[in-house]
Amino acid sequence: MTEASEKTKQRPALEELLFGLFLAALAGGVFYATRRLSVGTAGDMGPGYVPQAISWGMLLFGLFFVGRSFVIPGERILPPCWRALILIPLAAAVFSLLVMKAGLAIASFLCMLVASAASSETRPLEILVFSLFISAGSVLLFVRALSLPVPIFPW
């Protein structure tokens, strides 16, 4: 171990802890979502048998990671880049909200613009021109050539 990496060690190991909690929460969610499904027996398994069996496994894995996070040292996690984390999904959301109502042309253009705002290296004029170009291209490719059943424009 070099000294530099020694410095970034921390306890509890955040990576392990977060992943463990995620698994436990997932297991809880599945238990809740399948609570009404019958479990049945090995000879005649109900629809709830396998999901609940896997969830027990996930819960054990989760607890294992949570426990281990307090035992082994972990590396420091860089804080999430909120700009990317919010804007990239937002761009996809813009696309799905607009595509049927405003048409593919506008949805594509705005989707790309929103996405591009996620990067600090984006140059405004360049991306504007490029987005126009790509949006026009995808309309031609997907609607004209591949007959994707979406409107092109809102009118």
Binding site: L14, E15, E16, L18, F19, F22, L23, L26, V30, A33, T34, L37, T41, A42, G43, D44, M45, P47, P51, I54, S55, G57, M58, F61, G62, I77, L78, P80, A84, L85, I88, P89, A91, A92, A93, F95, S96, V99, M100, L104, S108, C111, M112, L113, A115, S116, A118, S119, E121, R123, I127, F130, S131, I134, S135, S138, F142, L146, L148, P149
Partner: protein, 499 residues
Amino acid sequence: MELLDNLMIGFSTAMQWNNLLFCLIGALIGTMIGVLPGIGPVPTVALLLPFTFGMPPASGFIMLAGIFYGAQYGGSTTAILVNIPGETSSVVTCLDGHQMARQGRAGTALAIAALSSFFAGTVATIVIALLSGPLSKLALSFTAVEFFSLMVLGLVAAVILAHGSVIKSLAMIGIGLLLGIVGIDVNSGAERMTFNIPEFADGLGFVSVAMGFFGLAEIMTNIEKPSQRVIVSQRMKDLFPSLADLKAAFPAALRGTAIGSILGVLPGGGAALPPFTAYAVEKKIAKDPSRFGRGAIEGVASPEAANNAGAQTSFIPLLTLGIPSNALMALMIGALMIHGIQPGPQIMVEQKELVWGVIASMWTGNLMLLIINLPLIGMWVSLLKVPYRLLFPAILLFCCIGAYGVNNSVVDVWLMLGCSVVGYFFNKVKVETAPLLLGMVLGPQLEENLRRAMMLSGGDFSVFVTRPISAVLLATVVVILLVLMSPAILRKRNEVVES
């Protein structure tokens, strides 16, 4: 030599100029839809089916088959260049293929993918010609018990895919299995975890999930850091693999072909098992497994070969037994019936020209794919010259359109969006998503076959060890798990041996 006679009949059919033309059209269409994410061969074939009504059955069938393997090939181009798995099978190609592209070896990766596919296609054609009989017997000797054990083996192979901790990979497989359970349960008809979204009744769309975890999550992780310039060289020397590359790739392609040829025959394994298994094997037998996931050429050659070989041998149950091994083959049966040809075991005898013509056309088709794709490599690679700040919004857009196109529904775009956020979280806590995807593909079949096997045996778990094929498969699982779980023991033993 009956075999030679049959192959002669086949090639005389496949080499007719109109059949060559249809083969070319099929391969071209296939490549195009393969490159675009989200657009698969099944709807394309369904769409083109009516056009084949007027053709001789062999020509129609040759064209549809061309679309199928063309799409298999096209998917790997997208995977290598932009790390988007447009088909189930290209998830594995993403792992090392895209890493090669990042190191400025996109041309090599694409060429190796093309050459491996062609090689596998050639061998698989011979395999079909020689071994259809025995292989179809193998397919029939698999019942629910064997399928379950095979799926378990496949999942354990998924552990090898990742290079992080074994326990984390197992946990990721579990998450994948849970995702795979979403939808209507085959055994009871009950809806499970669909949250009253009708679009989820037939399960989560794999392509949307894969694009979320791979494509979008990667964009989010990438733009955090200042972009590095990808070296793009378009000198001939850098576009095509060197002798050393070929030497490394050839044995891997050979192993991949063998794995793909066998697994492709088994119904249900589908597109996922051959490439995943081939990759796992390469990584396990490599002298330095740490190279995998960082641009190992074997990690491209072997899965690509396995994928293509499997795609071709999946025709065997159809041609010899009249049993489709996947959705596409079911469509092909429909195509045959429209031509008044009764699919079934007698087809090999009654329709010699058709069956052997199609088999021979697989080889001509693969040759055409090679001819189409090698010159295109330069063009594909130049795509990487576009700076990342422009490339990523375009990739995102194509993912959105692709996800929408899977079912013509925005539900899939929302699903992809959700997966991208979770995928970003996984990147942050440094767990790898490839095992999750394999778990998701194999999960439904794992459960279906487990429950069926239990119903048939009356709840007796011992069937899994008393049936020989299943016992061997499960024993392999145990051995792999032991080896994986005890790297420390193994390392010590190696040290002892070396000293």
